[in-house]
Amino acid sequence: MLEIRGLEAGYGLATVLRGVDLTVPSGRIVAVLGANGAGKTTLNMTISGLVRARAGTITFEGRRIDGLAPPAIAEAGLVHVPEGRKVFPNLSVRDNLELGAYRRARGTRARNMERVFDTFPRLKERIRQGAGTLSGGEQQMLAIGRGMMAEPRLLILDEPSLGLSPLLVEEMFALIRRLHAGGLAIMLVEQNVAQSLDIADDAHVLENGTFAIGGTAAQVRADPHLQRAYLGL
């Protein structure tokens, strides 16, 4: 569903991604793991069109999307829930969700909003509240709910567990599993290696702008380098 070949990207003189190859098959959870600064967020930003690719190709459902602007990519159904949530703090929970359907799924907006509220009853309680006044966990729910409003074909989740309490982290991973149970393809970008490997089908480890390890989650978990560097075994 998503095919990335030889991707290079960066900012100014700095090159961050140095030849990334990645496949996200439909209906699977693919984890992209790596330490801070490995290039995970740059990879997401390049897929979404916020950062321009310098070389390589990105193909989504058979169509080249590198070089497209973010709205066109969102319209194609590749929906990115960014690191740091990026909800609209000055807008209500309802308005945030409505804007999730700005480019896609406008006709089914009401039904999708009900579905989001079924998944996150907390958001319904706070429907009129300004998103800036929500707790970190609630903002993360809102960011994911806003992404779901677009009826994504592929959902990119960037660090959804970042800054959440251990209990909420558990809840977040359970939620990702539930979203996936409906057949949704998910690219999960995380620093939380152990829990991501538990729910992912495939996993890739980004180091210095290129994938050092890749394969099924079980293969990656068994890799001695990964165990040493990321799991402390």
């Binding site: 916020l50 973010p70 960014p82 609209f88 703090p89 000055n90």
Partner: protein
């Protein structure tokens, strides 16, 4: 200062009426600042241009400024949209000091264009109702200023409805605070910037149409209003739409009262005293967000 209360009341009411149109000029400035985070130094020149447009509509086509207000607003929305999309946006890529230079340069070009076309003569139009007054209890109110006040309130309400209840307005507010998030839900940020700039310029066109029956127009006239508008924006809070309208009314009353007590030529001194006081005591303005 034993002035009779009716005179003071009349000064306050006239101040409110004039201040409303000041607020309308400030509205465009604060909207552009709030969403694009740029200070548009071409605001005054665009106001001048709009006043000349209203002047031409009257002098060449015989269209009353009040009739011309809405078509001019549409025309200037388009001009503002294109200026942002084709000039300011591409030229400002990244750096704030670029924007300053670009908008300053734009204002010089527009002013000199006006100077070349209309010469430096001050011009005014002669509408039959320019000196009409409306009786309100013990006071007399100038008819053009009452119309200007009503138009400002109408624009304020229209903007409120646009910002609160339409997808376009919500997209504008989203872009103002969270650009990346907005781009990711599929909002075209460059388009929203241009629409916002266009709305600000359309406000200027309406202000111009309201000012023309009672003010003269010359190639630099816009600057006088924009200087006051900057004070209003600081008083109301940078980026606050409500602040611009309330600030405009306050400044109008201050100007009118200091004119009454200190003499007409010193009327504006009160405005700048307020400006300094706000900067000292409440730098975020009346409705501004805390830093």
């Amino acid at each position: 200062m034993g002035l009779p209360p009716e005179i003071i009341l009349e000064a306050v009411l006239n101040g409110l009426l004039t201040g409303a149109v000041y607020g309308l000029v400030a509205l465009g400035l604060t909207l552009v600042y709030g969403v694009l985070h740029i200070i548009n130094f071409a605001h005054g020149a665009l106001l001048t241009m709009a006043m000349y447009a209203a002047y031409v509509a009257w002098a060449s086509l015989g269209v009353d400024p009040y009739v011309a207000a809405l078509p001019l607003a549409a025309l200037f929305f388009g001009i503002g949209y294109l200026v942002q999309r084709l000039v300011i946006g591409p030229a400002s890529r990244g750096k704030d000091e670029n924007i300053l230079l670009v908008t300053l340069g734009l204002s010089i070009i527009i002013e000199n264009l006006m100077l070349a076309v209309f010469r430096s003569d001050t011009r005014s139009i002669d509408v039959p109702y320019a000196m009409d007054v409306i009786e309100a209890g013990p006071t007399l109110l100038s008819y053009p200023r009452v119309i200007g006040f009503v138009a400002t309130i109408a624009v304020g309400v229209a903007l409120y409805v646009l910002m609160r209840f339409t997808m376009t307005g919500k997209a504008i507010r989203a872009v103002a605070k969270e650009r990346t998030g907005a781009a990711l839900v599929g909002i075209d940020v460059a388009h929203v910037y241009a629409v916002t700039f266009g709305i600000g310029t359309a406000c200027l066109a309406i202000a111009a149409a309201m000012l023309l029956p009672s003010f003269y127009v010359s190639p630099r006239v816009g600057n006088a209003f924009v200087l006051v508008a900057f004070t209003i924006v600081v008083l109301g809070g940078m980026g606050s739409v409500v602040g611009a309208l309330v600030g405009g009314l306050v400044i109008g009353v201050v100007e009118s009262l200091s004119g009454l007590f200190l003499g007409e030529s010193l009327g504006q001194i009160g405005i700048f005293l307020i400006f300094i006081l706000v900067l000292l005591v409440r730098p975020t303005g009346l409705f501004g967000a805390r830093a």
